[in-house]
């Protein structure tokens, strides 16, 4: 028996991704919680917001649509994973998995697949809604498509890592959603999702610029909206280099936090 080969990590990881997605689709509350919130917000605010951003010719609702797509990515990664893993830790699922020959990395591959599939789905839904309701257009050039793709991938990667890292913070699975929604909601206001970023007070802008969501919003605007918007951007430039740098820094920080703080057992379980 001991001469038999162990199943490969990748195969187990793919199988976990499929299992998680199946469970997610069947769990209506999780579906609604993760998917519906950004969509509902888009519908509500889309009907409230009016007018152009001064001197740019850009409909504010399109600006908002780019921001809510970034929020949607954070919801399907940071919130969904953070809450999901906290619950799995609390109910003993993680401990059970740790007791099997499943390689730990297969668990994270499964989570990444889930986050990626959910993010792509959410982004497509939000984009189509933005397109139909506010005339949001797809990236106009191959360069802008490239920008869209790398900002999306970097955003998903960073928020996934931070979601896994933050799952260790809530003391119980039940309180996880409440705990994680605090930074999520606050950051949306600091990052220029609901308001034009440059209309925020200087101190708020500086605080927002520390966190990744502001840069994901700005990066998606650079892919989806015209250059005439630059006069309303903080540096009057798209700052792709800085965006990449800030996201990379958060990605590294998130990765280190995952490696150092991830626990397979509850806090009170030794």
């Amino acid at each position: 028996m001991s001469s038999l080969a162990m199943p490969s990590t990748l195969r187990i990881g793919l199988s976990r991704g499929a299992l998680e997605l199946k469970g997610f689709v069947r769990e209506r509350e999780a579906m609604a919680f993760t998917f519906a919130v950004p969509i509902v917000l888009m519908l509500i605010f889309g009907t409230i917001f009016k007018g152009e951003i001064q001197g740019t010719g850009v409909d504010f609702r399109q600006y908002f649509a780019a921001g809510i797509i970034a929020s949607g990515i954070a919801s399907t990664t940071f919130i969904s994973l953070g809450v999901g893993i906290a619950q799995e830790r609390d109910d003993g699922t993680l401990k059970r998995l740790y007791g099997t020959p499943m390689p730990p990395s297969a668990y994270f591959i499964g989570k990444t697949i889930t986050a990626l599939v959910l993010s792509v789905t959410e982004t497509v839904i939000l984009f189509l809604l933005g397109h139909l309701m506010f005339g949001l257009k797809p990236p106009s050039t191959p360069e802008r498509w490239l920008t869209f793709v790398w900002v999306f991938v970097a955003g998903v990667a960073v928020c996934t890592l931070l979601g896994i890292a933050v799952s260790s913070v809530p003391r119980s699975g039940r309180g996880a959603a409440a705990v994680l929604n605090v930074p999520y909601i606050v950051l949306q206001f600091l990052s220029g999702v609901y308001l034009t970023f440059t209309d925020l007070p200087k101190g708020v802008q500086e605080a927002g610029a520390v966190f990744p969501l502001k840069w994901i919003c700005q990066g998606l605007r650079s892919a989806l909206l015209p250059d005439s918007l630059l006069s309303a951007e903080p540096a009057h430039a798209w700052e792709h280099g800085r965006t990449a740098l800030v996201l990379a820094a958060w990605g590294v920080a998130g990765f280190v936090l995952c490696l150092t703080t991830f626990r397979w057992k509850r806090r009170d379980d030794g």
Partner: protein, 281 residues
Amino acid sequence: MDETAVRVRGLRKRYGDVDAVNGVDLDIPRGEVFALLGPNGAGKSTTVEILEGHRRRTGGEVAVLGTDPGRPTRRWRARIGIVSQTSDERPQLTVREAVRHFAGYYPAPRDPDEVIEAVGLTEKAGARLSQLSGGQRRRVDVALGIIGGPELVFLDEPTTGFDPDARRRFWKLIESLAGDGTTILLTTHYLDEAEALANRVGVIARGRLVEVATPRELGGRSAAKARVSWTGPEGPQTIETHSPTQVVAELSQKFGGEVPELTVTRPSLEDAYLTMIGAGR
């Protein structure tokens, strides 16, 4: 192949200033059903979790299937099965989906449908975990614990919260598993469970293994005196004796037939256990 499934020497686990486990020695041969008894906080769960590779020890030597569980490898994990206490694994999955998925973790898993049948859930194979009763969920836990075809199975308080009928049926399942030669380490609070299932019983109290014996011999039960009680003209009477039959015969003669309210008892496993953990009379 090594004939000892579990070998423990001088096991210690310290939390702060407290020795939760303080010098435990234990040998469990292959194929044995071993029950570990002890009150909450006596070090029972800590000991088992160290053996399962879930917890690090402070000192001592431990070998489980010849491997140090302080350094668990995938290959070693594939040879043991842990039936954990709680399960909320993806309540929206069906029994078959869950068992098949876990089979994919192992190099030589048992046939999922066969395992589902072995735990008596064939009729529920297509049901979602959220629709199962507590007892049925526990059977799923067992299925997930044995799907890899383990040589050693850890069962942690498997029948807590069961009704008596469900417990009896669960015991049959464990007996059939043991019948296949699987080594089983069982922890339980139910002494009748230990008596029904275990070849040997170990009692742990205050971090030490106080005694290891067969259920019959635990606490000197088999050699203990029997208590004969009856109600005579002077009221209730009790004597302790090694020859209860003779005492009863004498009483019968004395009373000219029936002895009023006659009982003959030997210390139960529970009496022996309670004395041992210091909660006895």
